[in-house]
């Protein structure tokens, strides 16, 4: 472990995560309702996801397929057979007052994900990842908006039955920065797999357990935590985190709060705390959570599913880490450029399209620096360019074939493409940016001078006849289309300047 994690003298931070990810499927996990977000409450519902008496769940194999993809990506064990259990608890957002989830036979077990934090590589163990159904959502009205104080509460079942994957890590994190790096990497992987839409509200929900342990209670390397020491320490569970940036802020706050308490000799309560994003603090959940007994038992309405063959049958795309390495080798890119170009699957796919047609370096400059830079400046995502990437390719082509200057392409054409929605050819035409014959002649002049240092030397030492040789060279380059008198003048101007 690096020195930075054992900061503040002798206290070590230990964090484990439970990450809930909404899987991107067309229909819900146990019925045929659409998962498409909608503003109309209770629109995408049916007897099954409303939990009406007599309705039965039928497993959407698309959700299982997505789960198997995740399992492959995190190198998890996928069992021969997977099954579902009921988790029994009462809550107003739960249509049946039980949640169909997985218990002792999750679809994925013992996986891992590699992350890098400031150049250090670490492997985070993922204990399990299982499928379950999302509950509905509640809207508390009046009385401060809490469930216990609201005047009334509205229930929307549109979300009920959306497939969720709950990913549970080992307590392997030693800092909020590592958590952030992990979540960013996880999001990237999920997005590459095509099973996740980060843009969707509530698609990522994180609960984190954080404990502070005195260093001396840890055996040797801080990476290996003694289970007893962890058990002995009071931990807080921080809920309501919804992004990797939020996770880092929430946990940094919680880490400081606990360390301050310990250093002032106060005990850290074992409790559940709520991350208040707008205030940037964690708040103790007033009603002390009792130890819950979920009375898990098998869901007899869903027969066990044989998944032994699925791992071999389901293919997953090249993942970000592997692609990053390949980009460095295959296209000779720097690590930084390769990272930028693999940040999302769309970016990487687009880069490979462009690099296939033009020089990979030129393609890298255009995709990583120019396009992403201008998009970032406008707070846009590459997904918003869907359908217009051909235009960007055309712009790179104009530059590659020397039809416009790189400066004009970047500063005028690309910006106007993004701001006004025009096509590159329209903009070039309108702004008169196309290189003229004069530009071509001027370029030939520069080249002729570069390529014939002998003649240049003769000219400079007073041999005026040498200019005729250079004029001949330019005439050759321009295919005889230039006016020899003009060329003569241009050459003299260039050589004198």
């Amino acid at each position: 472990m690096t020195a930075q994690t054992v900061q503040q003298g002798d206290l070590v931070t230990v964090i484990g995560l439970e990450v809930h990810v909404q899987l991107e499927t067309d229909t819900k996990i146990f019925c045929g309702c659409s998962t498409e977000p909608t503003d109309e409450p209770n629109e995408n519902v049916c007897p099954v996801c409303l939990g009406l008496p007599g309705a039965l769940p039928v497993l959407n194999e698309g959700a299982v397929e997505a789960a198997v993809k995740i399992g492959k990506a995190i190198d998890a064990d996928i069992p021969e057979e997977t099954r579902f259990h009921r988790k029994n608890y009462y809550y107003p957002d739960l249509p049946k007052n039980f949640q169909i989830t997985q218990y002792d036979e999750p679809i994925c077990a013992d996986g891992e994900l590699e992350i890098s934090v400031e150049g250090d590589r670490r492997t985070v163990a993922i204990e399990r990842a299982h499928l379950e159904e999302d509950p509905g959502s509640l809207q508390h009205v009046g009385g401060g908006g809490g469930i216990d104080t609201a005047e009334y509460t509205l229930v929307d079942y549109n979300r009920a039955g959306t497939p969720l994957m709950e990913i549970v890590t080992a307590p392997d994190f030693r800092s909020p920065d590592e958590v952030r790096a992990f979540l960013a990497e996880l999001e990237e992987v999920l997005e590459y797999l095509g099973v996740f839409d980060a843009e969707r509200d509530g698609s990522l929900r994180i609960d984190a357990n954080l404990s502070i342990i005195p260093e001396e209670e840890i055996d040797g390397d801080a990476e290996e935590i003694d289970g007893d020491a962890l058990e002995a320490a009071n931990r807080t569970e921080v809920k309501n985190i919804s992004s990797h940036k939020g996770a880092q802020k929430a946990l940094a706050y919680e880490e400081t709060r606990q360390k301050n308490a310990i250093q002032r000799g106060r005990a850290v309560e074992q409790e559940t705390r709520h991350w208040d994003e707008s205030r940037g603090i964690t708040v103790s959940m007033r009603s002390k959570e009792e130890e819950k007994d979920y009375r898990y038992f098998e869901e007899a309405d869903l027969p066990p599913l044989q998944v032994s063959g699925w791992k071999a049958e389901i293919a997953i795309p090249e993942l970000p880490r592997a692609r990053r390495r390949r980009f460095q080798e295959e296209y000779g890119l720097s690590e930084e450029a390769a990272s930028k170009l693999t940040s999302t699957k769309q970016v990487a796919d687009f880069y490979e399209d462009v690099a296939g047609e033009f020089d990979p370096d030129l393609a890298a400059t255009w995709v990583a620096d120019n396009l992403l830079g201008e998009l970032n400046y406008r707070d846009m995502e590459i997904t918003e360019m869907e359908g217009r990437l051909e235009e960007v390719t055309r712009l790179v082509e104009l530059v590659a074939e020397d039809e416009i200057t790189a400066k004009n392409a970047r500063e005028t054409v690309l910006r106007s493409m993004l701001d006004d929605g025009a096509s590159p050819d329209e903009i070039v035409e309108e702004e008169g940016l196309g290189k003229t014959d004069e530009d071509e002649v001027q370029q030939a002049v520069v080249e002729a001078i570069d390529e014939n240092p002998g003649a240049v030397e003769d000219y400079e030492s007073g041999d005026d006849g040498a200019i005729n040789f250079l004029v001949g060279q330019v005439m050759q380059k321009t295919g005889g289309s230039a006016d020899p008198g003009d060329v003569n003048q241009l050459l003299r101007a260039e050589l004198e300047g």
């Binding site: 029994n88 007994d293 309405d301």
Partner: protein, 423 residues
């Protein structure tokens, strides 16, 4: 209509066209969902609940041209053996007035016995079709788990129960089974065994060479008159060419305990959704939502339902789960194994359906344990997921006695052939 209190809701639902059940009237147990017609499960909690969809079996009835005549009385959520736990009052037994019709599908059996419907649908979690068939002197079939879709059947013990037919003859019951059997994409536990199978044409009454195993454990402790009537029926089958021998099912002594632990555990979860938000009395309570849920459940459920939910919750709780729920699952596996063995030595197994003749109305409500023990011969079949049929075997002291035949999984044709020798 008689004053036997057979129906909770009388409502005619016409089927389409001229299918195999055109002209046939069907009574449907009130825990089977009917679009636009309230489905109460015999509970105050669902007094006003009108499903927005049809159970798969109801769609099948309509397609087959049947006319549904009403929704029949039942023990609340199927929890009872007499139909007396219904929030809508008890049903009288048309075959033995002053006595219970059995339960929990008492209204459906009574409808057929009283001629209020040609045939009826019930559901059987631990004997709820066979018991009332026996008590009302009609035929009832509990199909193999997975033969008939449960989509739209309000769940009590969902790993145990099946929808099945009642009729005056085995052939009529088999005809109704033909209509409702078969795989359903809305019920993942259904199998395709019933898709192409013809049940009605198996009702030939031919029992020549049939080997009948009689599990001695299922005769122990039974009423003398019931046992006598049972043996008379076996003798009748022997006269027609069947032979019988005794077999043993040692595990069934644990079956009642195992059954109740499993059924109550599942019930505690299945009935959790009835919390006053969308069903029963909601709102108007002081206190938090948790207290409001408790109040709604306290008011909406009857005593027997509350008893089973509490016991089921207990059996699944941390610290008791292994002692009760897990042990019951082990016993279930053992019962299955015993049946497999017994059925490897016989074509069908036979027993009295109920160890006792029908109780007098009001007689049994006092003692739930006596009630639970009356299920001793029917619950093992549900634990083993097997098919069984109850046919009238005769009478004792003027009260109907049923004969139960049990077959191998998806062996309904064999049961129908054997039982059709008697009714």
């Amino acid at each position: 209509m008689s004053d036997a209190n057979i129906f909770i809701t009388e409502k005619s639902i016409e089927g389409d066209g001229d299918g195999p059940l055109a002209g046939t009237t069907v009574a449907v147990k009130d825990n089977i969902s009917t679009e636009g017609v309230r489905t109460t499960c015999g509970s105050e909690m669902l007094e006003d609940y009108v499903p927005p969809y049809d159970a798969t079996v109801v769609s099948s009835l309509k397609e087959a041209g049947a006319t549904v005549v009403g929704k029949t009385n039942m023990d609340e959520f199927g929890m009872g053996t007499t139909t007396e736990t219904s929030a809508f009052g008890a049903t009288d037994n048309p075959a033995a007035p002053g006595h219970v019709p059995g339960g929990s599908s008492g209204g459906s059996a009574a409808a057929v016995a009283a001629g209020e419907a040609d045939v009826a649908l019930g559901s059987d979690t631990g004997g709820s079709i066979r018991c009332p068939a026996a008590f009302c002197g009609v035929v009832g079939i509990k199909p193999t788990y997975g033969l008939v879709s449960r989509y739209g059947l309000v769940a009590y013990g969902n790993s145990l129960e099946q929808i099945g037919p009642f009729a005056n003859t085995v052939e009529d019951a088999a005809e109704l089974l033909d209509v409702i059997a078969g795989s359903d994409e809305r019920d993942a536990t259904t199998r395709d065994a019933g898709d192409e199978t013809d049940y009605a044409d198996a009702a030939t009454g031919d029992v020549d060479g049939l080997s009948i195993g009689v599990p001695t454990e299922l005769l122990e402790g039974a009423d003398e008159g019931v046992v006598e009537t049972f043996w008379d029926a076996i003798a009748d089958l022997e006269d027609r060419g069947a032979e019988y021998h005794e077999v043993s099912l040692p595990s069934v002594e644990h079956a009642v305990e195992a059954y109740y632990v499993i059924a109550m555990s599942e019930a505690s979860s299945n009935l959790a959704r009835f919390d006053g938000v969308r069903y029963g009395n909601s709102g108007g309570y002081e206190g938090n939502w948790n207290e409001a849920f408790s109040r709604a459940r306290e008011e909406g459920f009857g005593d027997e339902v509350k008893r089973r939910i509490l016991l089921g919750t207990y059996a699944l709780s941390a610290g008791y789960h292994d002692k009760y729920y897990k042990k019951a699952q082990d016993a279930r596996a053992w019962v299955k194994q015993d049946f497999d063995e017994a059925l490897s030595e016989a074509d069908v197994l036979a027993s009295p359906t109920m160890p006792v003749p029908p109780f007098e109305l009001g007689e049994s409500l006092e003692d739930p344990l006596q009630m639970y023990l009356a299920d001793a011969n029917t619950v093992p079949v549900n634990l083993a997921d097997l098919p069984a049929i109850s046919v009238p075997a005769g009478e004792t002291d003027g009260l109907p006695v049923g004969l139960q035949l049990i077959g191998p999984a998806f062996g309904e044709r064999r049961l129908i052939r054997a039982a059709s020798a008697l009714a």
